[in-house]
């Protein structure tokens, strides 16, 4: 089975910091989103793909674990890895590394499929998701 992942490099912006002089903990979910969406563009699997197929993919669970702080101006690497599972969910794991390649943050998100019209959560994998898994031999 293939392991699909994407790495994005970004610079920590001043508006991401707080009065402790470090990145505010909630802003790491923005970093997770940046790389998750980059994954979507690389593997043709994101917000737009879901929407075209009649689904939204809201986040239903997020976990963040912080090992080290990040400061304004640091150039960081954000990695998202797709984690396969049998239920009708999308799971990504995340790792963030600073310029010294130290692990700064780890995390996870779980998304479900909700029908854009009925707003109901899908209990089985939508067909386009099954097709996507097949295409990438997952």
């Amino acid at each position: 089975m293939k392991q699909l992942s994407v790495i994005e490099q970004i610079r920590v912006q001043f508006h991401d910091t707080d009065a402790l002089g470090i990145v505010w903990h909630g802003n790491y979910l923005k970093y997770f989103e940046i790389v998750r969406e980059a994954f979507g563009r690389k593997f043709n699997f994101g917000y737009h793909t879901a929407k075209e197929n009649g689904f939204a993919t809201p986040i239903v669970k997020s976990i963040l674990e912080h090992k080290l702080p990040l400061h304004y101006g640091e150039l960081i690497k954000i990695k998202a890895t797709y984690k396969n599972n049998q239920s009708a969910k999308i799971r990504f794991n995340y790792e963030i590394y600073n310029e010294n390649d130290e692990l700064v943050c780890e995390g996870e998100t779980i998304q479900v499929f909700t029908n854009l019209e009925t707003k109901e959560m899908s209990l089985i994998n939508p067909q386009f998701y099954e097709d996507w898994k097949l295409k990438f031999e997952i």
Copy 2:
């Protein structure tokens, strides 16, 4: 002519601060929005009213002037005052005061009416806006 205004009191949150230990300048536009929407609820004139009448009211211009910094935990007063004008625009002026009643920030926003379907900007006042002005003798 009546002068319509609303004052909201809020507390500066930690996530509004930056690495200089003060509220990040861009977050003042959130404070402006908080009191503008409170104005909408008080005078039946906001996002929902516009939407029900087929319009969005996007901001097309914002001005912010900062006199003093704000810090985490301060209890502040935000005031929005409606400024009448003849064109098809909504103009608000804003003032923010700290606990010592010192003027911390002044500003202004201009909104226009765009048709939710055609996405086009209205060059004349929508009827619901004219009615609203009449009701409040503006």
Copy 3:
């Protein structure tokens, strides 16, 4: 043993929403912070107390679970409950309820004590934290 908790009522702001028309998942960490800081003010146990005693209390872990979406304008209740533990950590559990008293989101944060000068994490409870626990019979 006492159960210490605080409830804050806030209104969902327009700038908290995203293009799906609901509150962006990362903004719930702002709601958690709002009520955690309210807890600090009520029980004399927050950012300022820690700072006066030479400590920062950075978040090292956050968990968010979403049950229902939130929309612009909803009046919500955010509850933080202090969860005692033996290690040198501060744990809060969170619940968010919408206007129909439906559970919208549950979560948890863990904070540690870091020395403001050495930046090192404290492995034992700082004295002021022990005193605080005694005072509230925890």
Copy 4:
């Protein structure tokens, strides 16, 4: 006289959008900051340079004018141009262009120099700012 400017290309993130499906107006100040800080790195003139010389450079005025909306996923160009002036201020003008090279937003920021110790605003140009102007023949 030289005209100093910097262009950054960024992608509009999902967390920058609001319930109207477009970038929330306040987030453009983040885009302005991204390119202003890129200017600082390119021309050795930013937050860190000021700090090393004992100054903060807080924003005292911002102006934003919106011509067109921006949507999630768009690849945009943000341009900052330094505007010389005789007073002890830093002025930047900004332009944002979408993928069709249409002007989406224009703006301006004014910064002053405040002494990091006394917190007082400098009425004359700090020496390091004069030196910087000379170096770039402004």
